[in-house]
Amino acid sequence: MTMQFGIFSVGDVTTDPTTGRTPSERERIKAMVAIALKAEEVGLDVFATGEHHNPPFVPSSPTTMLGYIAARTKTLTLSTSTTLITTNDPVKIAEDYAMLQHLADGRVDLMMGRGNTGPVYPWFGQDIREGINLAIENYALLRRLWREDVVNWEGKFRTPLQGFTSTPRPMDDVPPFVWHGSIRSPEIAEQAAYYGDGFFHNNIFWPSDHTRRMVEFYRTRFAHYGHGRPEQAIVGLGGQVFMRKNSQDAVREFRPYFDNAPVYGHGPSLEEFTRETPLTVGSPQEVIERTLSFREVAGDYQRQLFLMDHAGLPLKTVLEQLDILGEEVVPVLREEFAKGRPADVPDAPTHASLVAADEAAKAAAAAGTDAGAGAGTTAGASTTDDKEKETAR
């Protein structure tokens, strides 16, 4: 596997503009589960859920949902888009996701985000003006909780911890991989680069030039911090598509959803929006070509997530879309993205690859101690750097 393909859901309850029907919260929650199961069935790698704390969104409790999906899937990686590192207690994130990681046999990673709903900060006792600082401090604590058995800690935003052990400990002592999602904050790209974590640019509403600048910033800084060359940084991108066999049918069917969508409805036309942003409405072949062009913007990357269940599309339609995505689009994308991909561009990290890198790092460290010199292995080099930095602090 070179790249991971999957879907991410916002979890909005939206009226279907063609029928006027609004699903209940229960229906929407069950639909998200059905969509996740379908993702595995059609051969996708990742399902990620958003986290929201206000209507019309349902997923306030991601690990409950992902735990349920974990029990009903075998291969799917369960992720978030995003986990609110600003307003959630990092202690609870450490506990919840370590628990999920055990239940899902390691099929878990997370994407950190700050959230874009102003009132969520005060509702959770925080100040939005401290958004970046909360992301920095909370994540620094989260990393320690997952990597150190006993943590003494004092910071600006949270009650101090004395002799605290977060349980359960991460599976195999290897914490879930972390992506940092940000649309326009170089501070967050810098954070991801510093730790050698992944950087996800949710480009779905943005012109490609903007995505290029953000990804280039992250790649440059990733190399600066010694995790590898810029091309070896771990990059994820979003995308949103609607497909039918014939392009015109796709446009005709999707237009009322586009025109009335809460996010971009009543703004620019479908044509303008598809020209300026990654939204692609057309045949599977058009989606393939558009998605392949992302490589020209971001370089060889590791994870591609599509937003499929939005704008009030009924479940039945979304499941049909996933069939097309899994059967006709992703197999071609896997093949085409693999072409010309340098061998030293890493795959998207998984629990297995992180465990292997961890063991390689330990073995290298042991060999280094015995020989009294550093054993420079390439496998898991970035993890080695990461660990050293972590212990150095």
Partner: protein, 209 residues
């Protein structure tokens, strides 16, 4: 050559707002030798509306925003609508990047049907540009319909242009917040994006607040 950017929010063609804008621009350029670029906000109306719903600027609007950011001096002219600047005029400045006008000399001007609205300059425009941290020229220019056939307007235009020209050239030019950061060796810059190095951001949180 310094750059003078004119933002004109007239709606009709030809418009008296543009007429006033041109006279102010010529008078300023005559003193500074600045190159003039005129932005007709009317031409950007749809892209501005889309910027509100989308969150990003279309191509023409992005070019206009860049011109404003790079300008050494700005002349802004709006017609008076409902006792204030026009909504479209305000909308253009609402979608500018934060800090785009920091320390920038700005000449404010307005047009109206009668002289009864002339204080719009000081009640509406001046506070707006103060908020945006621009250096507002002391003389604003208001032209009612009747002014185009009366004495006094050319003198006001000259006085305001002279003040703008002085601010554009003179030592009174304030450093913008951005310029200060550009001089900071600690700032990390890749392409157009910049931030403080992560260690520094982390350290800042460790200091007692």
């Amino acid at each position: 050559m310094s750059k003078l950017v004119v933002v004109s929010a007239g709606l009709s063609v030809p418009s008296s707002t543009r007429l006033l804008a041109d006279r102010l621009a010529q008078a300023t350029a005559g003193r500074t030798g600045a190159g003039i670029q005129v932005i007709e906000v009317r031409d950007l109306a749809v892209e501005i509306a889309h910027n509100f719903t989308n969150g990003f600027a279309g191509r023409d609007l992005a070019a206009a925003q860049q011109a404003v950011a790079e300008a050494d001096g700005l002349i802004v002219v709006t017609p008076v609508f409902s006792a204030s600047y026009s909504g479209l005029f305000k909308a253009f400045f609402d979608v500018l990047d934060q800090g785009a006008l920091d320390g920038k000399p700005v000449l404010i001007a307005a047009t109206g049907g009668s002289a009864r609205h002339s204080l719009v300059l000081d009640h509406a425009l001046r506070p707006l540009f103060s908020y945006l941290k621009a250096v507002v020229v002391p003389t604003g220019v208001y032209a009612a319909s009747e002014d185009w056939g009366a004495e006094g307007l050319p003198e006001r235009v000259e006085r305001a242009a002279g003040q703008l020209a002085a601010l554009m050239a003179g030592p009174a030019r304030l450093p913008a917040a951005r310029t200060a950061q550009e001089d900071d060796p600690a700032v990390v810059r890749v392409g157009e994006l910049e931030t403080v190095p992560f260690e520094q951001a982390l350290q800042a949180l460790r200091r007692p607040s």
